[in-house]
Every structure is written in structure tokens, then in C-alpha cells.
Amino acid sequence: MLKRLYATLCSLNLALWLMAGVMIALAIGSFSRAGMASGMNDMPLLIWLQQAPLSFSWWLWLCVAFLAMLCVNALVCSIEALRKKGRSIAPHLMHAGFLLVVVAHLFSAYGGFKQQLQMVEGGTIGFPEGDRVLVERISAEYGPMGMMSALRADLKLNGEVQGVQPNHPLFHKGYGIYLKDVALTPRPVALFEIHREPGSLAALLGALLFTAGNLMLLAQRKGR
């Protein structure tokens, strides 16, 4: 009985069906305007899943179920293959990378945080540990076509001033302060987003592992 279950769990057919299942669930989700528009990006996913009506979120539950089984399948398949000698480790590095990325999503789905703040010069952003960030200066530059070409906010933290711009956030104790928008009239105002993404390091490690395995596989397949 257990042997049969193990054989099923590491079977290629199961992997193919599960991948098809994940794709179908995601495709349904992409057309589900209710699901996409109902704040999925504004709160940790696990909280959204608890709060959203099942009629909005059923496709995601389905996807999570397929994905969970796919992870088990990938793990068992890699263990089984690595037990046999002489096998390339490249596909299994890719599996490990994929599993780490899924774990990263789980971390972020559980402990992620996002909040928008509109601040004027002299305003402060408080952190749970008591630290405060002072918004010293808000500035923007406009290009010849009237589009905003650069925006910046100077933030003071622990006596040190650091500039925050799009693509250049300020990181502090696991939180990132992102500058989203600036308006200069009637007085300078900046829109900030505070993010915490606990899965980011695991996602990066997973991506690096996957890429390493992928490059090894390419090298092995070269000329074959």
C-alpha cells in the first residue's frame, strides 16, 4: 500500500497532470475579475484567502492544492533519483529552487505587510520597534514633455539622511520604504508604501539555485 503510494507520488504522469491542473486553475483565476480586483495585492495572501468569499477564491484554493501535491511530487522524485548513482544533479537543483520559491511565497503569504502613507515634509513614519523616520525633503523634476522625470524624498533615520527614489527604497529592519508618487503643489506631498516581504531571501536563493541547475542542464545538453 505504502509502496504504491510512494510510486504514485514520484510518478511522471502525476507531475504532468498536476502541472496541467495548476495551469488551468491559474488561467481561470486570470479571467476572474472579482478575484483580481478584490485586494489580493493589498494584504497577505493567507488573510485574503480567509476573508474572500469562496466564490471569489475557489480557483486559488484549487491551485494551492495542485501546487502542494506538485511540491511533494518534485521532492519525492528528486529523493528517488538521487538515491540512484550516476544521475545528474542539475534537474534536482532546479526542483530544489522551485521548492524554495514556493516556500518563499508561503512566508510572504503568512507574514507579508503593505501599507500606504501620504506624508508632507516634517512628517514621521513610525515602526513597531519605536524607530521613527523623518521626511526631510520632497522634490521632483519634470522633463521637457511635462512628465515627471525624477522624484525623490530625503528621509532621516537615526541621524542619517538617505534619499529614496523609485527603484531605490530604504530598507530598515525587514521593512522597505518605497516612494510611489510626489506632488509639489499646493505643498510637497509624497506617497510612500511600506512593505515587508519575508519570503524575498528564500525566493532569491531559490531563483539562484534554479538558475544554477538550469545552466548545468544546458551545459550537459550542449552538443547532444
Binding site: 511522471l12 486570470s30 495585492n41 524575498s200
Partner: protein, 238 residues
């Protein structure tokens, strides 16, 4: 410099021979270079630039297959590549060029890397579909091996594009993942080619299914690139 893009499209469509294809590619690349020089960045924003970039990516990625691969003797393949690249060059023509500087949120190397790698991958998926069609029409396992090779390299480019997109997203938006139709279809495309590469392990009995999957994959690619941008609201729009 639009004449360079027009001549590239015309030459691609007439590329029954490899030298004509190479000249068409040269013309397309010269157009992109002229756009890049005038903008001071890679031309990767707006439908015209992205379609022209996609067209040249197909030409560039096809070169190794045309000059050293097993498909080099197939005149139909040369013309098929030309038709594919020419079609996207033609599609680019009616759209106006966007000559604005990069919006601050896109002004980062990770963005350019993300988009360029995605187009190289899309191009290779297109070539894989052509090779699959050629296999179904004419047979010959070598064509299927080439299809696998094109799809594998395309998959690698696409995976790296997703990684660079995630890093860009983390710096730009504070997260490496957003729940938008574009991200979902990007994941669907990546899983589709994961499935395709795993199907290879099923052996020769699945050869025709494998070839068909390579063709369907390019349809999924086109929907991910054009369909989602045109039909769905997303953070990515080209």
C-alpha cells in the same frame, strides 16, 4: 528611420534563402540601434518598439539554427523563420513610436534585462513551434531534437527573465510577485514549458504529442505577450 523596419519586414517575407534572411535581420537590428541611439536606452516600451524587438529577436535566435543546426538545409524552415519575423515587423508598423524618456519606475537595468530575455525566450518558443510543424509535416527525429533544444534554451531565458523581473519588482514595488493577469499568464507559460520538457521523458511514443505541444506553447506565448496586454488589465502593458 522607419524605412529600415519596412525593408526588414519585406526582406524577411522574401527570405527563401539565408543571405536574404541575414540582410533582413541586419536591417531590423539597424532600426533598433537607431531607435536606441535616439532614445539613449533600449527600445522596449510601446507596441512598435516591442514588436520590432520581438521580430529581431526571432531573426537573431534563428541564426544558429539556420547556419549550423540540422534544419539548415530546410528551405521551408528559413522561409518560416522569415515569415514569423516579418509578420511581427509588419505588425509594428502601424503603431506610433513612443519617444518619451523612461518613466522613473522603469529606469533600472533589471527591467531591461527582464524584457529583453523574455523576448529572446518568446522568439525561441516561436522557432520551436516552427520545428514542430515541420516535424509533423515531414517527419525526421532530428527536427524534434532541435525543437527540444530551442524550447530548452527558450525556457532558460524565460526563467532568467522571471528572476530578473522578480528582482526589479522587489526594488520597484516592494514585492517580487503581484496577482495580476500578466503574472498569472507568465506563470502559466513557464509551467507549460516545464510540462513540455518533462514530457520528453515519456519517450518516442509521445513524439507527435511533443511536437504539437511545441506549437500550442507558442499560442500560449502569444496570448501571454499580446492577448493579456490587449484583453486584460494588468501592471504590464505594451
Amino acid at each position: 528611420m522607419k524605412w529600415l523596419l519596412i525593408s526588414s519586414a519585406v526582406l524577411y517575407l522574401a527570405s527563401f534563402r539565408r543571405p536574404i534572411f541575414a540582410v533582413a535581420l541586419g536591417s531590423g537590428l539597424a532600426y533598433l540601434a537607431s531607435r536606441g541611439l535616439s532614445l539613449g536606452r533600449l527600445p522596449l516600451i510601446g507596441p512598435q518598439d516591442t514588436l520590432a524587438f520581438f521580430s529581431s529577436s526571432i531573426g537573431l535566435m534563428a541564426l544558429p539554427f539556420l547556419y549550423s543546426g540540422g534544419a539548415s538545409a530546410e528551405r521551408f524552415f528559413t522561409w518560416g523563420c522569415g515569415l514569423l519575423a516579418g509578420l511581427f515587423a509588419l505588425l509594428a508598423l502601424p503603431f506610433p513610436t513612443l519617444n518619451m524618456p523612461l518613466p522613473p519606475i522603469l529606469d533600472i537595468y533589471w527591467f531591461e534585462l527582464h524584457v529583453a530575455l523574455a523576448f529572446f525566450a518568446y522568439a525561441l518558443f516561436g522557432l520551436a513551434a516552427l520545428l514542430g510543424a515541420l516535424f509533423l509535416y515531414r517527419g525526421g527525429r532530428q527536427l524534434l531534437d532541435l525543437q527540444y533544444r530551442a524550447a530548452l534554451v527558450g525556457y532558460s531565458f524565460f526563467s532568467m527573465s522571471m528572476v530578473s523581473g522578480g528582482i526589479w519588482g522587489y526594488y520597484a514595488w516592494g514585492t517580487y510577485w503581484l496577482w495580476t493577469p500578466k503574472e498569472l499568464w507568465t506563470s502559466i507559460l513557464w509551467i507549460f514549458y516545464s510540462l513540455y520538457l518533462h514530457l520528453r521523458l515519456k519517450g518516442q511514443a509521445w513524439d507527435r504529442g511533443f511536437a504539437w505541444l511545441g506549437i500550442v506553447g507558442f499560442l500560449v506565448t502569444l496570448f501571454t505577450y499580446l492577448g493579456v496586454s490587449m484583453l486584460m488589465k494588468s501592471s504590464h502593458s505594451f
